[in-house]
């Protein structure tokens, strides 16, 4: 397979991902709005979107944001909530391994759930231009940064987001992303129940986000053990 990396690939990827990027623009505006409600300046709001570029993680950061800013806890929490990117980028090996380190590790910055899905679909269809992935990521990044700014600007004029149920949106996003991950009772039930039980217990017992770490590890361990059990029987 001859993998190439062209500006035409970037353009095609950008165009392919633009509709989904625009679909996420309300999410971006809600992020900007919540950020301004939490007391972040417009510069901080936009900077976080440009540098972190991870919607769910940024929403989590806003949930945990307080004065003084708990920088270390936020970094750890964001690292943990983004661990899924680790296995997602592992899947991109056939495209990124042949194009050289700079292009590969540059493209990897632009990894979000939606553009990864589009990029992997193109790769599995036999697409040869790895720059397509960079284009899809840049589409999401540009719309995300732009709408974060818009949300931050208009956030100060929206008086009461709770009356509109807007404070529920981050939690809703996690729920909506979780539902398609269900793979049936045999595969998902025990891992999910373990994750929920450990998370509830740690949430009651420990401060901070340890319930995320514990719940995530417990569910994944049970998932791994289930596989070994299936292999053994």
């Amino acid at each position: 397979m001859n993998i190439v990396f062209t500006t035409e690939g970037v353009r095609r990827g950008y165009v392919a991902a633009l509709p989904i990027a625009l679909g996420l623009s309300v999410f971006g505006m809600v992020y900007g709005l919540v950020a301004s409600q939490k007391g972040l300046s417009l510069a901080e709001t936009v900077l976080m979107s440009a540098i972190v570029f991870a919607g769910a993680a940024q929403m989590l950061a806003l949930e945990l944001w307080q004065e003084p800013v708990p920088a270390i806890s936020l970094t750890i929490a964001v690292l943990i909530i983004n661990l899924r990117y680790m296995m997602m980028t592992a899947v991109l090996r056939p495209w990124l391994a042949p194009v050289g380190k700079l292009r590969a590790y540059g493209s990897l910055f632009f990894t979000a759930d939606e553009n990864w899905a589009i990029g992997v679909a193109e790769m599995r269809r036999g697409g040869k231009d790895a720059a397509f992935y960079l284009g899809t990521g840049f589409a999401l990044w540009s719309i995300w940064v732009l709408t974060s700014a818009l949300g931050g600007i208009f956030g100060t004029v929206v008086a009461d987001p709770e009356r509109l149920g807007l404070d529920f949106v981050p939690l809703a996003a996690f729920l909506a992303l979780l539902v398609p991950m269900w793979e049936g009772k045999a595969r998902s039930l025990l891992p999910w129940i373990s994750a929920a039980a450990v998370a509830l217990a740690l949430h009651a017992l420990l401060p901070g986000t340890w319930y995320l770490v514990g719940g995530g590890i417990a569910g994944s361990l049970v998932g791994g053990l289930l596989l070994q059990h299936r292999d053994a029987t």
């Binding site: 899924r84 997602m88 149920g165 949106v169 909506a176 398609p180 719940g215």
Partner: protein
């Protein structure tokens, strides 16, 4: 347009952590011996993480949150676009907060 130094530190930390996670998956897959257990562990991690994240706030949230969660899960199960699910959830929560004063 001010940036608090602690806020800047937090943003840079979160950015670096996120990038390292993004880069490490690709980095490691080229070097690690494959094992089925590791594959299964990583496969289950996102779902477990999200369950851990939503369970405490949903269960502790009160009737509007429960109804909103049900609306979002129903929409997502019917494969509605993300945006539709979010709007349905927010609208349900807003409506029930009007009806059930005090939440």
């Amino acid at each position: 347009m001010s940036v608090d130094s602690l806020a800047l530190l937090a943003i840079l930390g979160m950015g670096l952590a996120t990038y390292l996670v993004r880069a490490s998956g690709f980095f490691l897959v080229q070097r690690l011996p494959r094992s089925r257990f590791l594959d299964a562990f990583l496969h289950h991690l996102p779902g477990a993480m999200f369950v851990a994240l939503v369970t405490p706030p949903v269960l502790g949230g009160g009737p509007p949150t429960w109804a909103g969660a049900l609306a979002v899960i129903s929409c997502a199960a019917l494969r509605a676009p993300l945006l539709v699910s979010l709007l349905a959830g927010a609208a349900t929560v807003a409506l029930l907060r009007q009806v059930l004063a005090g939440y």
